[in-house]
Amino acid sequence: MSMWNPQFEGMAKDELRQLQLERLQATLNRVYRSVAFYRKLFNQVGLIPEEINSLEELSRIPFTSKETLHQSYPYEMFAVPLREVVRLQCTSGTTGEPIVVGYTRNDLVHWTEVSARVLCAGGVTKDDVVQICFDYSLFGGGLGFHYGAELIGASVIPGSNLDPAREVLIARDYRTTALVATPGFGVRFAAAIRKKGLSPADIYLKRGLFTGEPFSDATRREIEEELNIKATDNYGLSEIAWPGVAAECEKKKGLHIFEDELIPEIIDPQTKKPLPLGKKGELVLTTITKEAFPLIRYRTGDITRFDSSPCECGRSLIRMEKAAGRTDEMVTINGVSFFPSQIEHIFSQIRGVEARSCLVIDRRGDQDILKVLVEVSEEVFFDEMKKLQDLKSTVEREIHRDLGISAKVTLAEPESFARKTEGKRVIDKRERAAGGEPY
């Protein structure tokens, strides 16, 4: 239950605000001087860095988007010359071309520090044997976790990305006590244990730190039960720090954001205005210690909300709710926003339909129309009209009850489902409203 760095993780709020202001101002002075993009951006809006006299005024600066980072490939956003850079990594390129991220020696020190905080928050100590099931390449968070675990003094196994069956044997033989992986890998790891005829009692795992994709409560429960461990969630992104943006402590009431390294904001992804504390929106991050690759008001595309209530763990850092989805996956119907995964979750609770579904959105007049195509399970027969009708109304009722939206549901056999959806989760037929650019 300890903190890796109580000085920063437990810092009094007013002290933290002063530290953030100082680090922000120095960062702005540096990017204005050294990054052509930022100098131009500031000049465009008629702002000089020294006009930012408070954390609130940060919102006067325009955002930095992922697109900007793509356009500046490879080195245009670097704030130091290449010879000051001691590490180059890149993003995995899930949403487009890769982005090259540089680290100075100091950047690596800070990254290692926040990684140690993440691991410590998840309960890792120097007595743990930590198995890191992450890619150790150009893209990976593997190296980040590795350095952090070494700093703590744990015994570190660079498991890299072996298949789950191999990782299980390593975990058993090396007596791994802490697993670092994606939730998906955690599920496959548990399955591999079963397949080998082993049980959690045959291995020594006590905790798992999961990151890289949304960690649903259901998946957490499944992993915790099947592996008999305590599982915590961590959030990061390669452009900024992964691991190292936010970490869940053992209280599991949200992820503490490392505010001495970053200034977090929540904005409405459509109006782009900052939202009041507690409202759900897009996470925006400003780095305040980075030397090589500083980012100002970077739009993460991830949806979350903040909770500033005190946490029993003693960390004074604000918490973010688990990142539930991305703005580019979010669907808005007549003003109500939700993620396809929420619909899928509803379906997973109903017998007779599969979780897989496709949302078709159209517009009639000023009304958005949502049609949901859902695949029925094998055991449902298409000749039992009455039963199908009941199933259809059950699904519609559940969607309305859960999300407060009306949907017209179409049931489809597995084959026709695949053909009609072409593998898409969402088909949006609405014309882009004037001025309403996609986010």
């Binding site: 202001l21 002075n29 670097f78 100075t104 020190v109």
Partner: protein, 244 residues
């Protein structure tokens, strides 16, 4: 102890500080480095009320002293050892030390001041030896000790030092840094302006780098030792980017 937010200082129309924020916690020794003309002296002078045109906030503990007079500020426990010592050259060592306590004479007993002077002679035995000598005849190192001693006579909570190693031979400079570090160990909070980064990194807890009136970096000595800005500030010349 000291919190500064968005400090801007002007000499007529010339703006020497352009929104500086920094802090010094009780018991810390914090350094400020930068090339000539970066605004270091202006910053110290602004803290002690010697710059008339300033905006922003200077908080001593929770008290806003931004527009207080130099006399009020020294009575609040802030003392400056100025750049170039600024001793009274024709006066003796003893007389210089006495002047350091001038604001205390009205309210305090002479005996306490006397015992403080005794403590300073304990700390700097060479000053006792030379107590009747005029300050102008002391060596550079002795003059710096006298300047520090004179500041200590005001019993500061926060001691500001402006380039104390300036013009001193390396060995003498090292001795001065040792004195500073001792003062810090004994509980004095210190803000130290320097260009001698070697000495700074040995004694300071944290350092800010000032460039043309703006803070561009801050960090622990270990962090700053790895940074190019520091080399720039130290060597006082521009490094050319080799990106292209």
């Amino acid at each position: 102890m000291l919190t500064i937010r968005n400090l801007r200082s002007y000499y007529g129309r010339m703006q020497a500080l352009k929104g500086v924020s920094l802090h010094v916690k009780e018991g810390e020794i914090v350094a400020l480095i930068g090339v000539n003309g970066a605004g270091k002296t202006t910053l110290l002078n602004s803290i002690v009320g010697l710059v008339s045109s300033v905006t922003g906030q200077i908080l001593l503990e929770d008290l806003d002293i931004t527009h207080h007079s130099p006399g009020q500020i020294i009575r609040r426990g802030v003392s400056l050892v100025p750049e170039g010592r600024q001793l009274f050259a024709p006066l003796t060592v003893m007389e210089n030390l006495t002047l350091g306590a001038y604001h205390r004479y009205r309210r305090e007993e002479k005996s306490r001041i006397k015992s403080d002077m005794e403590a300073i002679f304990e700390r700097f035995p060479i000053l006792r030896e030379r107590q009747s000598q005029v300050a102008g005849t002391l060596s550079g190192g002795e003059q710096q000790m006298l300047a520090i001693g004179r500041s200590l006579m005001s019993r500061p909570k926060l001691l500001l030092l402006d380039e104390p190693s300036m013009g001193l031979a390396p060995l003498v400079a090292a001795q001065i840094f040792q004195i500073i570090s001792e003062l810090h160990r004994q509980g004095t909070t210190i803000l130290l302006v320097e260009q001698n980064t070697g000495g700074v990194f040995k004694v300071s807890n944290r350092t800010y780098v000032l460039e043309t009136g703006r803070v561009v970096l801050q960090g622990t000595p270990e962090e700053l030792l790895h940074n190019r800005e520091v080399k720039r500030a130290y060597l006082g010349r521009e490094y050319k980017d080799v990106r292209e």
